[in-house]
Symmetry: C2
Subunit: 152 residues, 2 copies
DNA sequence: GTCAGTGCAAACTTTTTGCACAGTA
DNA sequence: TACTGTGCAAAAAGTTTGCACTGAC
């Protein structure tokens, strides 16, 4: 098991005095390569299937570490468990989640970001991060609904 | 234990064919009266202290019911448990959470709401609800930090 | 009277932790 | 070599569930 991890990411981790163990390299690699959001259990299953020899405890500890160093985002879509996404070097984005098919759409909007800063200034609140999630029904699911209605 | 529940709320619940049991009346009353966000365990402790005779299971089941009927909002501030707030009749708002003192500030911004709708239109996404949380340091905590720095 | 709601305790899911051992810098 | 990181298993924390009993309509 040897997922790709760009050298500059390893170097940035080392700059933060994070020891690069075999386990951490693998976990970072999976989260980095993984396109969608990933949760701890899914990560564990991938590692287990590949006989990577990484325990759950290490997964949780490593993810916490990466989140605290802001290499990774931790999010919650109200499903009783946290999901993670690689953040470093990625442009900031927010999420829309389809309540029908579960798909997560990423979007980035300059106006929202600017407005958030203005609001924070009004409250004299110093922002460090934010979460924005819109729940609803995606276009594809609405098309499917429409087709179904027309067939009846 | 007899927390206040306005009659029109009871009536709206009945319109939704929700049976008004003793336990539900109490839970709704507490969530309605409670100023801050409340979690299931806190609710349970209040009920226990007042010898209300309501089990944890009923609390979870009632909260789920109220959320599904959109009387109550369920939120997650990344603390491993859900918090709830009475929603019906309250103006929509988003949250800022202070990472130092834990305080939650509510705000409502028309421009953000409008912009969210525009974004959804661009993605042909039909929104039903959204969550926006800004994390950072509140004014009071920054003042305290400042005072501390000046004393050293 | 009927059927949905409730209490209890057990189960389940996710995450955290203590401790002995392992491995990076 | 000196610590920090890891694995394991147990525990903690939050939430859900099966089943017999209760009570609202």
């Amino acid at each position: 098991m040897n997922p790709e991890v760009p050298n500059d990411i390893i170097e940035r981790l080392q700059k933060e005095h994070i020891k690069i163990t075999r386990q951490r390299r693998i976990i970072i690699g999976i989260v980095y390569e993984h396109q969608d959001h990933i949760d701890a259990e899914e990560l564990y299953k991938i590692l287990k299937k590949n006989k990577a020899g990484v325990s759950r405890a290490t997964i949780y500890r490593t993810l916490d570490l990466l989140v605290s160093k802001r290499f990774v985002n931790k999010m919650d879509f109200g499903e009783g468990r946290s999901v993670y996404e690689f953040k470093l070097g990625q442009p900031h984005h927010d999420h829309m989640k389809c309540l029908r098919c579960g798909k997560v759409i990423e979007f980035n909007d300059h106006i929202i970001e600017l407005r958030q800063n203005t609001i924070c200034q009004n409250y004299r609140f110093l922002p460090s991060s934010h979460i924005m999630q819109i729940y609803g029904i995606c276009y594809e699911c609405r098309q499917k609904d429409k087709a179904k209605r027309e067939n009846n």
